[in-house]
């Protein structure tokens, strides 16, 4: 067993992908044990409500690593970036280890499976079959993104960080 394996086995990772009205999230133990996943709705537009909701998950799962998207390398809007920054500040204020993962790192991690979010999500369902029922159908150009895709985005951030 390598040092990385030993370190990762002791990790409980909480990956969060904020959206306009909540966040997709996953909790992974070690490298490959999916503990919890889902989309949490936060109807208030303020960051305080978002942070409070995240805090309930942190209290329940006691992660030792929080993974977020890297705001410096994202094409996401101002509101989403603000939410990511608010979560990063919260995590740092509570003394959690935090890792910011860029889309580029995610594509690099999943380069053997494809480049699109859909292809990456398909690869993730092979790694975690329990997520297969949550897999959104293929998105046509006129369709908005399914909120469940945020679960797969959160998984991709976590796996890019842990790999």
């Amino acid at each position: 067993m390598s040092m990385t394996d030993r370190i990762n086995k002791e990790l409980r990772t909480f990956a969060i992908d904020p959206t306009s009205n909540g966040f997709g999230f996953v909790v992974i133990e070690g490298n490959d044990q999916l503990i919890e996943w889902g989309v949490a709705k936060v109807w208030s537009s303020g960051n305080e409500a978002l942070v409070a909701r995240v805090e309930t998950f942190v209290d329940r799962y006691r992660p030792n690593l929080i993974v977020l998207e890297d705001v410096n390398e994202t094409r996401r809007g101002k509101r989403a970036r603000n939410r990511i920054v608010a979560l990063a500040r919260y995590a740092l204020s509570k003394g959690f280890a935090i890792r910011m993962v860029s889309r580029r790192q995610v594509r690099e991690t999943f380069r053997d499976y494809g480049l699109t979010k859909f292809e990456i999500a398909m690869a993730i369902t092979n790694i975690f079959p329990e997520l297969a029922p949550r897999m959104p159908r293929y998105r046509k150009p006129w369709m908005s993104e399914d909120p469940r895709m945020n679960i797969f985005d959160a998984v991709s951030f976590a796996l890019a960080c842990l790999s």
Binding site: K9, E10, E29, L34, I35
Partner: protein, 112 residues
């Protein structure tokens, strides 16, 4: 910060099966999913009969479902076993004492 198992992994294993809290409650013979929810959040601990029923419904051992409780109990039992071993070592050697010591060593050496 070291990793300690969660008190229980009921929710994780239930969701892996695709069963809802109401489905599991129905299989347990409970009236609603509220009881399952309380067990999942740790608000309540199931009685032994229900815990065994969870093992049957989810196909996962109680040890894995309640990994956190198992881990704490294992630590506590090992501490007591160590004390007991020290006490036994001070006693005169008999066949029964050796048998007991072997049993306690098995507890201490077991992969928990």
């Amino acid at each position: 910060m070291s990793h300690t198992p969660l008190t229980n992994y009921l929710r994780t294993h239930r969701r892996r099966t695709g069963l809802s809290q109401s489905d599991v409650a129905a299989l347990l013979g409970a009236r609603s999913g509220a009881l399952v929810s309380r067990h999942e959040t740790g608000e309540r601990r199931p009685v032994l009969r229900t815990a065994i029923a969870y093992e049957i419904v989810l196909g996962i051992s109680i040890r894995r479902i309640y990994a956190g409780i198992h881990s704490k109990l294992a630590t506590n039992v090992r501490v007591r076993a160590t004390r007991m071993l020290v006490r036994l070592e001070e006693r005169p050697r008999t066949a029964l004492r050796d048998q007991k010591m072997a049993s306690i060593r098995r507890i201490l050496e077991a992969d928990m």
